[in-house]
Symmetry: C3
Subunit: 357 residues, 3 copies
């Protein structure tokens, strides 16, 4: 089950070079994407409406794409504009196109009812385009359902166990400090002090120990936005509910991560890591992204193993503990919206069709 | 869904060497084939009736084959003739045998009701055994349903797109000239002039441009028989409906291709290419077969991608255009016969059993 | 379908080294096994009850195992004894543990109702721990249902066919001598004389020809215990029903083999081979185990091919001949017990739960 009326990240903007034809699958729908000559990205279903050949094996001709099975040519609005050796083009001969927005270096595709594709729903990735920040990027595929990856991100206790020798090494507090969890618009906010947190190998910081305020929003459809600000030790005691806004941190690291469902058992994960330009350096950012890659392989191994057990024992149900407050809150939000969409499916279907003609 | 009351190509005659045990699967039935001492090919189900071990892992003993799991021995008529250490052989202890005809270098196996196995239904491959012709042979496996390969062969427009740099290179007319399509006995005939057709790298022809009359029959269960005759340019204008029978072409190339369903998602494809001995040479024939192999890999990539999309979106249906007349005609023929066979299944089943005992 | 109220071999004792965490699947249930500090083996379900992460990716802490996803810690009785940053541990927070017995170098796990786990039901492997014997060990995985491997072991006729060039080479009598088959407690006994049996490459025997008395028990849940005793030729004529107990054989070889179902289509097979210390040598035992490994690959190829045919034609049924008496007898025993367990499932389920809390 997927949410369709959502913007999903289809990739990093730099992955869509002019002239390139990019095949993707999002919420089980095959897409073909390419840059139109004006520079914007076009996304359409990757299935010629004639005999279902993939358009991603086709040829770009200006802003149009030609199916290279029998030569049908489609304009960037999805209409068939040429059938070889045939003058009349049937009315309904078109492929579905999806709204695309490029924002914060991410290419976002709307997978639902076109009439509801509101760009204001797109979350803001942290400083991807801010000249004061250095940002590195990466991606990873998982053979697991996307909600297991949500769960993973909504409970960072796992840093002390899955990542005990990597990301979690310097800060055992991940495993012991209970965060505050609050509902926000379209998601959950999870915040905590990590007292006496050590530094990471990818930062250059004067002291060895800090009080770090780690706070992230996890918002629909599966976007994780974490900011970790380092203060001198004892700050946490002074401000147990978080640092006041005017208190300048000694160092800040951020990461934005987007979980995109490919199919029920495949997910792709786009992530950035960043530091203030005045704190970091390109080399440190490379180290940060490399450290994320290593740690996410640890997640991948754990989550894919978890998925296999779930599939093997579909009749068992997981336990939800106090511990799992954020996870449970977001799972409920997802379940509610999935149910709503299922109810509206028939109506949306009709709207869709109308919009498409 | 398959047609069973059909002759299917099980391979090239030269693949059945004396003493060889050949395992095949046709319309989802495992077969074991071998040459009897008298030279004819025997085909039986590849499944010992005792514990279902494959006879193709067995041992030929004269005209009989012995299962090498527990030693049951079967005569070439399918009867069990020996059970180790047991005197009595139960009445019904036999495996099913299939009628086999070797014709035009192809080994044809009847997969349906034995009572209806009429060799006159076998189509004539083009000049496979004619001393005036040089013929080369090949084969290729596809991970796709056989009807997608029928579709491919019934619409040669694709030569200008799938094979734009190979088979279709010299003759853009494939993509533009609408063929005449006529129903024939057990199939469809598709004919067209390819005006100003260039030559192919595997022919030796005096001029660069020709009018070529390309006409093929596509007949049950999936046999493609194409003859392309080259005439001087302007011939097409003089004879728009095809060259008169007494007009000698400058060059003729032929190809025969048989599509054999292995399972719902696997197909094997046996093909020949040929030229008149007085036109061609062994080297040219080798070039022709090599060119076919390269082109069919292009088909295979496209068709297997198409199959994946079809499987991913089973609820969508393809469009049928004017364009698709031959495809649609043969699809209807297949659907009608498949439905008929489904209706007769019970009765055929009974006949079968009676015939087998 | 599996029997659950049985002891299954989970491996060789030497595979469970102190500190090692061993993952296994038996009758489709994932297990994690390790040695407690007192030396006994602990077996629990390999699925943390929190979010279903595999405990086999966890960390041993004394006799407890900690899930390395979110840090839950389980004692060796299955109770959760620690939740990071949470004081209260919910009542039902536990994983299932299985009774384990180490006997005859095999680690046996009870997969059913704990109340019925009677160690007296465990069969005696042949001389695994007897200082008068030299014993070698091996294992092999099959992609096939465990009952096909039972069938294989219950009908040694196949030695003359599957193993005609290996195990069966010296003794064509396997294919011709009908054994006596008698029901025994929890299984079947199959005995026969192999007259004029040759020697094997892995024994050192003074003569080339012998009368060998080959007798094995095949008992629940799938344990094969074969003793082959060699006597001078003509002994069989004197004692057609088997050698008298006081007749000393010239040489004895034994093998114990345990068939453990992993899933419906995967099985693991643990086997030993042995000779009296005064007859054999370590080198001969290594040869014997190597010969078994080669022969079992022959079985594996045949049985996996057989499994594929069975899966492809689920509507056909095998024939049962006089020949198959032992096979049929054990199949009936299995079917009866599987049916009984299915009937008792609800009740056992309840007992289980009660026992587990």
């Amino acid at each position: 089950m997927f949410l369709r009326n959502q913007w999903y990240v289809a990739g990093w903007a730099h992955q869509f070079e002019p002239g390139a034809i990019v095949a993707r699958k999002i919420v089980d729908e095959p897409l073909v994407l390419y840059r139109a000559e004006a520079g914007h990205v076009v996304a359409m279903e990757d299935r010629c409406c004639h005999r279902f050949a993939p358009l991603s094996r086709g040829r770009l001709e200006g802003d149009a794409i030609r199916c290279m099975y029998h030569g049908m040519k489609f304009a960037s609005d999805g209409r068939c504009v040429e059938i070889p050796a045939q003058d009349v083009i049937p009315e309904g001969m078109r492929v579905r196109v999806h709204a695309v927005v490029e924002k914060d270096r991410w290419v976002w595709v709307w997978m639902g009812d076109p009439a509801r594709a509101d760009p204001d729903l797109i979350p803001h990735a942290l400083y991807h385009d801010d000249p004061n920040w250095l940002i590195g990027t990466g991606q990873m595929g998982y053979d697991a359902n996307y909600q297991l990856i949500h769960d993973n991100l909504l409970d960072l206790t796992h840093l002390s166990f899955v990542h005990e020798n990597t990301l979690g090494r310097g800060s055992p507090a991940w495993g012991t400090a209970r965060p505050s969890v609050t509902p926000i618009d379209r998601g959950v906010r999870v915040s905590r002090w990590l007292r006496d947190r050590g530094t990471s190998p990818y930062v250059r910081m004067p002291q060895q120990k800090w009080d770090a305020w780690a706070s992230y929003d996890f918002v629909l459809p599966g976007v994780f936005l974490l900011r970790t600000a380092f203060y001198s030790t004892a700050t946490a005691s002074g401000f147990p509910d978080g640092p006041p806004g005017d208190l300048e941190p000694a160092y800040v690291i951020v990461t934005s991560q987007a979980v995109t469902p490919v199919s029920e058992r495949e997910t792709i994960y786009y992530y950035s890591g960043g530091q203030l330009r005045r704190h970091g350096s390109s080399a440190l950012i490379r180290d940060q992204i490399r450290a994320f890659g290593v740690a996410f392989l640890e997640d991948k191994a754990m989550i894919e193993a978890q998925q296999k057990i779930i599939d093997a024992t579909p009749d068992r149900s997981m336990m939800t503990l106090t511990f799992d407050r954020a996870t449970a809150m977001f799972r409920r939000l997802m379940a509610t919206l999935i149910e709503q969409e299922a109810k509206n499916r028939a109506r949306i279907g009709r709207v869709d069709l109308a919009a498409a003609q």
